[in-house]
Symmetry: C2
Subunit: 170 residues, 2 copies
DNA sequence: ATTTATACGGAGGGTTCCTCCGTTTAGCAA
DNA sequence: TTGCTAAACGGAGGAACCCTCCGTATAAAT
């Protein structure tokens, strides 16, 4: 008897697959940030030190890659909030997180636009997911700063986030 | 003594150049409407019955072509308004023009987005130009319809236009 | 150690991009 | 008309990119 996370008698996912997937995402972040959203996928593969076939196996279309990069960065912003939560100064923590967020929006807006263009259905799902994740993140930081009495308490996480994004897109 | 429209002792611009430019624009409109904004430029050249070199001479970049097509259509909408002005029924004229405008926005939004992505500086100039041109066009039609007493008189051309465009982009 | 399901790499055929240059032609003057 | 010349034309061709396909390699399971 064995523990099988998913249905079907499938074996454990291969370690190299996971590793390569991660490498590609990292490379994509770099390349797209530098060369805009139409950068060559072969350049991404090269940067990742991976064959072009591998890239296409993990991300069958350009949009799939965009989405994965986007998701991953949102996730990382969430984790950053977790780390900052146990940091010393609440306001300083909040400030840092906001700064990171600004940078994220700035570099990814091109990709977001490209996604919006070619997007079929699941775009709203994506935005909903990321909005919720980020709201939760900023929420915890806000609460802590408010509890320490260093900022006003009448700002909702949603409003703060919306304002921030709005400003970044001018 | 000769009439020289521009400075410099340049001769009259060649007729074939103008003709080809126009052909390319017409073809671009067709091809981009059918195949989206990433359609092949060589397809445009074929459709125009023109060598690829000619296309590139007139429009050095894809964006330049986008912009020219866009401008030309705005211009044509303006002219359409002129024609409709001397048409019979004022409201009917207005209605027709609005319909044409809707169609324009619908088919060109992809191109507009692409332009916005790759746009350097002169994008605001473009939007300003087209907004003014269209406002003037709808203005004359509105006035005439209002003068005939068939519609309300408290709608400004700007508001009408903005509302229309907003609705088209949902 | 052997088996085998998975994943990897990259060659290759097709498409598009964009430049470059030899050829053609429209305007102009004699 | 004819001839001259600047301007415009066409499309071949090298480079980049896309994406598929398949022989090879390897991580997990036995």
């Amino acid at each position: 008897m064995e523990i099988r996370s998913a249905k079907k008698g499938s074996r454990k996912p291969r370690a190299d697959a996971q590793r390569n997937r991660e490498r590609v995402l990292e490379a994509a972040k770099t390349v797209f940030s530098a060369g805009g959203p139409d950068a060559s996928l072969e350049a991404v593969a090269r940067e990742a030190g991976v064959g072009i076939g591998t890239l296409y196996r993990h991300f069958p279309t350009r949009e799939a890659l965009y989405e994965a990069v986007y998701r991953r960065e949102v996730e990382q912003l969430g984790e950053l909030a977790e780390e900052l939560k146990s940091d010393g100064a609440p306001v300083e923590a909040l400030r840092r997180w906001l700064r990171a967020n600004v940078e994220f929006v700035a570099t990814k807006k091109g990709m977001a636009a490209a996604l919006a263009l070619a997007a079929g259905s699941p775009l709203s799902e994506l935005t909903a997911f990321s909005f919720e994740r980020l709201t939760k993140a900023v929420g915890t930081l806000l609460d802590r700063a408010a509890a320490s009495g260093e900022i006003r308490t009448d700002v909702s996480p949603e409003d703060l986030l919306r304002t921030l994004v709005g400003m970044c897109l001018l």
